[in-house]
Amino acid sequence: MTTWKHEDVIRSIRKSAKIPSTVMITSATRFAEDLNVDSLDLVGVLLDLQDMLDVEWTDDEISGMKSVGDVFTTLTKHNRIDAA
């Protein structure tokens, strides 16, 4: 099973939500407050990650996705991302 790096996930988030490269994204970055990502953008972000990483988000996981760190944590549980 392919595992991905944090940089790959950040790159995907940046592309899906059209975040300029000048905006720093770390695990502490919050989608709504820091990136101004609304719920529709977040759907796009999560769908693109789902397709890229071949994961199936559960409802509880989606509900808890408030920050990039939450995505990392969930992907670690799915064994789809290298542990930092």
Binding site: V43, L47, I62, S63
Partner: protein
């Protein structure tokens, strides 16, 4: 719409009238319910005047030749029938229920289903908006409603709404009280339904106020509408099939499925929503008596209604665009048609 003693009338209907209507054949029961509406129209002056005012406003907007009083009387009949919702279809006799529908364009739905991507069945509140559910369930077409949970419906539909299984309906219902990531979760559940090749029934004329809402014009006013049906089509690649269920004069229902369309991922949501509303508007102009709810939107000055209003970009009075308004039989989405895509794929 104003209440006009609505609760008392509802009680009378539920307690005394509906049990009697249930004893009649479906078409006669529906026709009888319309006659009750005609009697109310004759006996209740404030109700009558309210309907006439609503019809007059719509007539002026369309520059139509309707007789306000006759149209309002017929609308009163349809309103009573509409308020009964699907209660009279609460019948175990599937054949009798199916025969109360005249279906046109079934092949359009079948064509969309054959693509195996699920189907976004785009409905509206024109005519009998809950009734397509009965036809589909009793025809063996599994579907989910993406809507707020409807109240005062048949036991038949209630049982379906409470059923277990994959993607259960009770988890698909949406709420205006949703907050945070609940809306995101809801969209994911809906996309899962489409990936499971289900039909997802979504109305395109739902006024909604959230950060995804788009402003669009309808019957001379600008409102905020949810574009959720278009978002789902964009994100899932599922074909869109518009459907209309009209109440016919003979007590039966006309269920029309229109040719499937593909919504391109990059399409402008505002344009898609406006196009879908323009189609309904054209239908309303041709058949005002099936416009059960729409004519009262503009007369509603409640706080709830005011929150759903959107301002016109140039504060101009909105007029129906006779030149560009599409016909329901002439889909005008600018994307590649499903038929073309299918041919290309093969």
């Amino acid at each position: 719409m104003r209440r006009h003693g609505m609760n008392f009338r509802k009680w009378i209907m539920k307690r005394f009238v509906i049990p009697v209507l249930r004893q009649l054949p479906l078409d006669k029961a529906h026709s009888a319910s319309e006659r009750i509406g005609h009697i109310e129209f004759r006996l209740l002056p404030s109700y009558r005047n309210h309907l006439i005012a609503a019809v007059r406003q719509a007539r002026l907007y369309f520059d139509a030749q309707w007789d306000d009083r006759d149209t309002a009387r017929n609308l009163a009949g349809r309103l009573t029938r509409w308020r009964i919702r699907d209660i009279l279809l609460d019948d175990d006799d599937t054949k009798a229920v199916l025969s109360s529908f005249e279906v046109r364009g079934r092949e359009n739905l079948d064509e969309a289903l054959a693509l195996n991507k699920g189907v976004v069945l785009v409905s509206n509140h024109f005519g009998g908006h809950i009734l397509p559910a009965h036809w589909m369930l009793r025809s063996g077409i599994d579907f989910r409603f993406l809507t707020e949970r409807p109240r005062h419906i048949s036991q038949f539909l209630n049982r379906y709404f409470q059923a277990d299984g994959p993607n259960p309906q009770r988890e698909i219902f949406i709420s205006r009280k949703n907050s945070g990531n609940e809306g995101v979760t809801q969209l994911f559940r809906s996309i899962r339904c489409l990936k499971s090749r289900l039909v997802l029934l979504v109305a395109c004329d739902v006024r909604w106020d959230d950060n995804q809402s788009v402003a669009a014009s309808f019957l001379g006013n600008r409102w905020k509408f949810t574009p959720i049906w278009a978002i789902l089509a964009q994100r899932s690649g599922a074909p869109v099939v518009p459907v209309i269920c009209s109440m016919m004069d003979d007590g039966r229902h006309l269920l029309e499925f229109f040719p499937p369309e593909h919504v391109a991922p990059e399409s402008d949501l505002s344009v898609l929503v406006q196009d879908s509303l323009d189609r309904i508007e054209q239908r309303v102009k041709c058949d005002p008596c099936n416009s059960n709810d729409y004519f009262f939107w503009g007369l509603d000055e409640s706080q709830e209604s005011l929150l759903l209003r959107a301002t016109s970009p140039d504060n101009q009075e909105i007029q129906p665009n006779q030149q560009s308004s599409p016909s329901l039989t002439q889909p005008h989405f600018n994307q590649v048609s499903i038929q073309t895509r299918t041919v290309n794929a093969s």
